[in-house]
Symmetry: C2
Subunit: 193 residues, 2 copies
């Protein structure tokens, strides 16, 4: 699976050009999915959704990132909900347009593993979206804390661990251990849901 993690975001006329470059009409998707920065609003996400509808790509929109500075803006509270929940609500408006297999949507969300309580908050707003979850390993997120990321009964999260695998003494073993823990966590969630 190839994810173009460019976090592109621009006003609609420029967003359309980025989206076209990521999908190239007539050739099928260049990448399986790409990431989008939501700061400029729904009209700037729209061209990416149109390109994804056309090409079959998936999208992951930044919702709550895993870096310490995410608190500066994403956690500011407006009418009782942090900014990242408002972003999730805008994503939900697009979710029905990118239907995937197993009842999932190709309109996904980036939600970091470093503050696990956010995973449940966003999952409640986005029951069908696939979550792309950075922050496990080198950034401090623990795979055993990710249960709430998974929609009940669905393999609905991609956990991205780069440095903690690439930098391990035995990368294959590190990857296998992470996979095993996530399988247990998501399976327990699946049985309880």
């Amino acid at each position: 699976m190839v994810i173009a993690d460019g976090k592109r975001g621009d006003v609609p006329v420029s967003a359309r050009a980025y989206a076209d470059a990521l999908t190239v009409e007539g050739l099928g998707p260049l990448v399986d999915a790409f990431t989008v920065n939501p700061f400029t609003g729904a009209d700037s996400i729209e061209p990416f959704v149109e390109a994804a509808e056309r090409s079959g790509s998936g999208i992951f929109v930044l919702v709550r990132t895993s870096n310490p500075g995410a608190t500066d803006f994403q956690d500011l509270t407006f009418e009782g909900a942090p900014l990242f929940e408002h972003v999730a609500r805008v994503i939900e408006r697009f979710a029905g347009r990118l239907e995937g297999s197993c009842g999932l949507s190709g309109m996904g969300a980036v939600v970091g593993a470093t503050e696990p309580e956010h995973l449940g908050q966003v999952r409640r707003i986005l029951p069908k979206s696939i979550f792309l979850i950075p922050g496990v390993g080198a950034q401090g997120g623990r795979p055993e804390d990710l249960a709430e990321a998974f929609a009940p009964g669905r393999a609905s999260a991609l956990v991205n661990a780069s440095r903690s695998i690439a930098g391990a003494d035995d990368p294959a073993l590190a990857a296998e251990e992470l996979r095993k823990t996530l399988w247990e966590v998501s399976g327990a969630r699946s049985r309880s849901g």
Copy 2:
């Protein structure tokens, strides 16, 4: 003047790579300035500021963009101030590190012309920053409404009009008329300030 308007924004480790690509240590600036998306917070802006200190480039951080969708998140109000004012306050923390000529800072802000009242709000928070102002012309912003963008007595705004000049019957005349109007607007501000 060359502005790399890529609106890059990512967590610190990736922001550093983007910043290095835009500045290339030892070669001087590849561009005069570049644009940055603030969604991921101050720690993600920091690597761009370090690269600008090193290379002599300027930075324009998205504060309030000119597209209709800017209202979705940038205008949400937290503790009595819209998100875009919170972004401006974070920019102000970096402004002293990029000193420019005439008392201006190389730590600039993108503030659209389509909602002119925002220009004064942001100017009060960022007295020394240069504003990059899109939205004049094709997007509906009028140059005669931009007075509050200018810091008193300083040529402190770059007004970007692309489609309304490139698509004019006489592009040279359209550019000259825009320049003349802006000169009058900023001059009146200068004398009154």
